[in-house]
C-alpha cells in the first residue's frame, strides 16, 4: 500500500489521470445536483489538489485557470443556485486579493496592520461617491452620477487613492516602534470608519450613517453589469493581476528588502535598505489591492455604508493571512477561500439548518448559539490555535530554491568575475 502511494506521488501521469477523474466527477456532481453546496465546494477543492500535483508550474496555472474560468461557471450555470455560487466565488476573489495585500504588509514586511479594511473602505467610497448623486453635493463641476463606463477607470483610481492613503498613514506611523504600529493602525482604521460615518455635515461627502445608495452599476461595451456571475469575471481578472504583482515583487529587490526589514531592521539598514521608504512601499502596494476591490465591492453591492468596514472585518483579513500562512502566497489565497466560504456559506447554512431543526422541534437550540453569530469566537480560536500550534499556517511559506548547478555553471563562465574587479559604485548620492 505504502509502495503504491509513493509510486503515485512520483508519477505525474497517474496524478494527472486521478486529477482529471476528480474534476470530471465533481463537475458532474454539481451539474446533476445544482443545489448541493457540497458538490460546489468539492469542485473548488480541486484547485488545492492541483497545487500539490507534480506538474510543471505553467501547466498547473493553465489547468487551474480553465477550471475557475470555464468549468466552474459553466457547470454551476444550470440551476437556480448559479448566482449564489458565483457570489461566493466573487467574494473569495475580493477577499483573496485583499489578503494578498495584507500579506505584503504583514507577511513580507512584518508590519502588523490592524486597520487594513480602511483602504477597502476608501476604494469603495471613492467609486460610490462619484457613481451616485452624492458627488453633486460638494463637487463644483461635473454631472453625477458618472456613467457606468467609468467603473473601469475607478478600479485604477481606487487603487491610487487607497495607496495615497497608505502613504499618508505610513509617513507618520512607520516611524513608530514595531508593536505600537498595530495599535496605531487599529486607531487609524477606526478613525476612517468614524469619519465616513459622520461626514454628512458640514459638507455632505459620505452621506453619514445613511450610506450611499443607488450606485451606478458598471457598464461593459454598453451592457450593464449587475449579476454576480458577471462580477465574478471582473474580480477574477483583478485577482490575477494581483497575484502577478505579488509573485513578481516577492522575488525582486523590493521583496527581498521587505523580508530583510522583517527579519532584522538594523541589519537591513546597514545593508543599505532605506527603512521608511521600503515600509511605505509595502503599505502603498498592499493598500492598492484593497482599493481596487473596494471599488468593485461598491459597484457590486450598489450601496455602501460604514458598517461594512469595522475592526471585525480587518481582523477577518488578518485571520485569512495567519490561517493560510504569513508570507505564503498560495497559503493566503487558501486562507481567504476557507474563511470566506466558512463565513458566507457554511455558517449561514449551519444556522439555517439548526433553526429548521428547532422549529421542527427536533432539538432546541438557543438563538445565542447560532453559528452565524459566532464569527468572533471562530476567528479568535483560529488566531490563537494557529499562532500557538502552527505559526507557519496551512501552506507554509517556502523560499524559492535556485538551481545551483545552473548558477555554478554561469558563474564559472562569467567573465573575470565582478568580485575581482576594482570598479565600484560611485560615492555619494543620498537616498
Amino acid at each position: 500500500m505504502r509502495e503504491q502511494i509513493s509510486k503515485f506521488s512520483q508519477s505525474p501521469k497517474a496524478q494527472a489521470i486521478f486529477f482529471a477523474a476528480y474534476v470530471i466527477v465533481t463537475a458532474l456532481g454539481l451539474y446533476l445536483m445544482q443545489t448541493s453546496v457540497i458538490a460546489f465546494l468539492l469542485l473548488l477543492f480541486s484547485i488545492l489538489i492541483l497545487y500539490y500535483l507534480k506538474l510543471k508550474t505553467r501547466t498547473k496555472w493553465l489547468i487551474g485557470l480553465f477550471i475557475i474560468a470555464v468549468v466552474v461557471p459553466l457547470v454551476a450555470s444550470q440551476g437556480p443556485s448559479f448566482q449564489s455560487y458565483m457570489e461566493v466565488g466573487t467574494l473569495v476573489g475580493i477577499y483573496a486579493a485583499m489578503s494578498l495585500g495584507l500579506n505584503v504588509v504583514v507577511g513580507f514586511a512584518g508590519l502588523l496592520d490592524l486597520g487594513f479594511i480602511a483602504f477597502f473602505a476608501v476604494g469603495a467610497y471613492t467609486y460610490a461617491i462619484f457613481a451616485s448623486t452624492q458627488a453633486s453635493h460638494f463637487m463644483p463641476f461635473g454631472h453625477y452620477p458618472l456613467p457606468g463606463d467609468t467603473f473601469w477607470l475607478f478600479i485604477l483610481i481606487g487603487a491610487i487613492i487607497a495607496s495615497i492613503f497608505g502613504i499618508l498613514l505610513g509617513i507618520p506611523v512607520l516611524r513608530v516602534r514595531g508593536d505600537y504600529l498595530a495599535i496605531v493602525t487599529l486607531g487609524f482604521g477606526e478613525i476612517i470608519r468614524i469619519v465616513l460615518n459622520n461626514m454628512d455635515h458640514p459638507i455632505n461627502i459620505t452621506n453619514g450613517a445613511l450610506g450611499i445608495s443607488s450606485i451606478t452599476p458598471p457598464n461593459f461595451l454598453g451592457i450593464p453589469i449587475g449579476n454576480s456571475s458577471q462580477f465574478y469575471f471582473i474580480v477574477l481578472g483583478i485577482f490575477l493581476v494581483v497575484i502577478y504583482i505579488v509573485t513578481r515583487l516577492e522575488h525582486s529587490k523590493l521583496g527581498r528588502a521587505w523580508k530583510a526589514v522583517r527579519d532584522n531592521e538594523i541589519a537591513a539598514q546597514a545593508s543599505g535598505i532605506p527603512l521608511v521608504k521600503t515600509k511605505l512601499a509595502a503599505f502603498a502596494i498592499g493598500a492598492s489591492f484593497s482599493g481596487m476591490m473596494g471599488a468593485v465591492f461598491a459597484a457590486k453591492q450598489m450601496y455602501v455604508d460604514a458598517t461594512s468596514f469595522t475592526y471585525l472585518e480587518s481582523t477577518m483579513i488578518l485571520v485569512m493571512v495567519i490561517l493560510g500562512g504569513m508570507g505564503s502566497v498560495p497559503g493566503v489565497i487558501l486562507g481567504a477561500a476557507v474563511v470566506t466560504i466558512l463565513n458566507t456559506q457554511v455558517l449561514t447554512d449551519l444556522s439555517n439548518w439548526l433553526t429548521q431543526l428547532s422549529t421542527n422541534g427536533v432539538i432546541s437550540i438557543p438563538d445565542a448559539l447560532s453559528p452565524a453569530k459566532m464569527q468572533r469566537l471562530i476567528f479568535g480560536i483560529l488566531l490563537v490555535v494557529f499562532a500557538l500550534y502552527r505559526t507557519q499556517g496551512l501552506i507554509p511559506h517556502k523560499n524559492r530554491k535556485i538551481n545551483v548547478e545552473k548558477l555554478k555553471k554561469e558563474a564559472s563562465e562569467a567573465p573575470g568575475g565582478a568580485l575581482l574587479s576594482k570598479e565600484r559604485a560611485e560615492t555619494g548620492g543620498t537616498d
Binding site: 495599535i183 477606526e190 478613525i191 468614524i194 459622520n198 459566532m374 468572533r376 469566537l377 488566531l383
Partner: protein
Amino acid sequence: MLQQIIQILPQVLVDGLTLGFIYAVVAIGYTLVYGILELINFAHGDVFMTGSFIGAGVLFFLMSIGFLSSVPSLIVFIIVILIAALATGFLGVGIERVAYRPLRRRNAPKLIALITSIGISFILEDVVRFIAELKTGNYIITAPSLFKTQYHLNIHSIMPFFHNVTFQASFLVVLVVTVVMLISLDIFVNRTKWGMAMRAVAQDRETASLMSINVNRVISVTFFIGSALGGATGVLFMIQYGTIDPYIGFILGIKAFTAAVLGGIGNIRGAMLGGILLGLMEMFAAANLSTITHGAMGAEYKDVFAFIILILVLIFKPEGLFGKAVVEKV
C-alpha cells in the same frame, strides 16, 4: 464661545475625572504587562469587560436571593467588586498560562504574541456575549442600579460664571475605589518584596532569574494584579454608566492603552496620570467640539480625538510624558 466653555467646565471636570480614573486603572494593566513582557495585551480591555459582566451577574444573583434589599448597598458593592476582581485576576493568569507562556518558551516573534492576544480578545467577547444572551436573551445588559442618588452642587451661586454640577453617588464610589486601588498598587510595587521582584523582572528578565527570582511566578502575579484591577474597574464602569455590552472593552481598551502610552509605557504612576489626563481631554472634547468648530464636528468625534492623541504621542514623544527613552541594543 469661551464663556460657554467656561460655564460647563465644572461638569466637564466631574465627568472627565470619572472617566479618567477608569482609564487610569485599566491603563495600569497594560503598563504592567508591557513593562514586563513588552507585549501589548489586546485582551486586557476584554478582561475589563468580563469583569463588568461578572459584577453584573453577581449583582443579579444577590438580587434574586433578596440579599440586596436586606443589606446596605455598600456591602453588596464590596462583595461584588471583590468577586469580580478575583475572578478576572484568575482569568488573566489563565490567559497568560495558556496563550502567552508557550510562546515565550519557544521565543516566538512579538508579532505572534500580538496576534494571540487579539484572538483571546475575540474569544472573550464572544463567550461573554454567548452567556449573557443565553441567560437574558440580550447581550446588552442594564445593571441593577446602585448608588444612583443624584447630587447637585450649587456652585453657580458662589461663582456665577460656572453652571451648576450634577453627579451621582456612584461618582464618589468610582473616585474613592480607584484612588484606593492606585495607592495600594503603588505601595505594593514600591514597598513589597513582590513589587521589587516585578520591577527586577521588568528591568532585566535574565538577570532577575539569575538572582533566583521565579520569573514565571512574577509574570503570573503581574497578570493577576493587572487583570484584577481591570475587572474591578469593569464593575465600577457598570455601576457608573449602567449599561454594558461585550464590546465595551475594545474602544475603552485602546483608550486606556493610549493613556498608558501618554504616561510612558511601563511607568505605573505615568499611566495613572495619563489616564486622568486623557479622560479630562476626552470629556472636554466631547462637550466642546461642537461649540469650537461651530457645529462642524460634534461629540461623535471624541473617539477620533483620543486616537489622534495616541498617534501624536507615539510619533513625537513615544517615551510618553513621564517615561524614559529606550535605546535598542545593537
